[in-house]
């Protein structure tokens, strides 16, 4: 028997897609749980009003406002997940690196928040669009983000910045306060030409080359 073994990059990509999907669906489920509780409470208040018991109309109005707001947040979470899923459809596309990183950081916020890490990003540093397979860059960025955040401690701030070189993007992950970091597993950076250039106390520099 000569069964073909999946390679590390394929496994890395599947893990990446699984982590993004699991985190985003947790976020959506959380929004639905809040909407469920608030609408059940509204039902109970209406039932009380029908029985002639006193209910506070301002509280009901406030609850309805919160339901509407949480539906909006759930919708945003679904849109982020949908946009991510469609990024896998594109073989090669003109991509704005700032927008990609910002969208990816939004998807990553829940994971960072569970570790007590605050994310910081200033868009507008990466210049014009580049042509590449978007999901490969997303995966390389996520692998570095995940590696740094898993090593971080509660209360750390992680700043992510982009710098454009000729045919490459440099992505700097800076952790404050700094800690001694280990490099992420290079085999899991699926993007050809993506590599961790440097790693020091609290800083990881990723270079992603494109044509």
């Amino acid at each position: 028997m000569n069964a073909k073994q999946p390679d590390d990059r394929l496994i890395g990509m599947l893990e990446f897609v699984g982590k993004v999907t699991a985190s985003a669906t947790h976020e959506i489920k959380n929004e639905l749980a809040v909407i469920n509780e608030q609408s059940r409470l509204l039902q109970e208040m209406l039932a009380m009003a029908r029985q002639g018991r006193e209910v506070d109309p301002e509280r009901m109005e406030q609850l309805i406002g919160r339901v509407v707001a949480r539906v909006g947040q759930a919708d945003q979470a679904v849109r982020r997940l949908n946009a991510f899923a469609h990024s896998a459809d594109l073989e090669r596309a003109s991509t704005n690196p700032d927008q990609m990183l910002e969208a990816l950081l939004r998807l990553f916020t829940r994971i960072a928040s569970l570790k007590g890490v605050v994310l910081d990003f200033t868009p507008g540093q990466a210049g014009s669009e580049i042509a590449l397979r978007p999901i490969l860059l997303e995966q390389a960025l996520w692998t570095c983000l995940d590696s740094v955040v898993q090593q971080a401690e509660k209360g750390n701030k992680l700043s992510v910045s982009l710098k454009r070189k000729q045919n490459a993007l440099e992505v700097l992950f800076q952790l404050e306060p700094p800690i001694a970091l280990r490099a992420p597993d290079a085999e899991l950076l699926c993007m050809p030409g993506a590599e961790v250039l440097a790693i020091a106390d609290g800083e990881l520099l990723l270079e992603a080359r494109f044509e």
Binding site: H26, N30, A33, V34, Q38, L41, R66, G116, K154
Partner: protein, 117 residues
């Protein structure tokens, strides 16, 4: 019966608390495992309902600490999903029950009332 609710999602935990109030159930709520343990050290509760995924002390860590502080307090773990290994681990740590969100508050209450009686 006194209930302590622990969940980092403030709107969720505050709304469950309000629904328990409407049913005349004495309860308090906090948004972290650390704050929950602080309350438990000061006063006893019959039940603690704790979320699994929280920043800081996780649901697992909270269950272990709750059982050390108040071994008689019964604990229900709330989870967003039903991964068998998570649920088994929670029971090993001393959780009495687990429920998957969204939770039907009347199911939650009937579970607590049945075992408190």
């Amino acid at each position: 019966m006194r209930v302590l609710l622990i969940d980092d999602e403030k709107e969720l935990v505050a709304t469950i608390s309000e629904r328990l109030d409407l049913r005349g159930i004495a309860n308090d709520w906090v948004t972290s495992g650390e704050a929950g343990l602080e309350l438990l050290r000061k006063e006893p509760y019959d039940w603690v309902v704790v979320d699994l995924k929280m920043p800081g002390l996780s649901g697992f860590e909270s269950i272990k600490a709750i059982k050390e502080i108040r071994p008689q307090t019964r604990v229900i773990l709330l989870t967003g999903h039903s991964a068998a290994e998570d649920l088994d681990h929670a029971l090993e740590l001393g959780a009495d029950h687990y429920l998957v969100k969204p939770v039907d508050i009347d199911d939650l209450l009937s579970l607590m009332q049945k075992e408190t009686a």
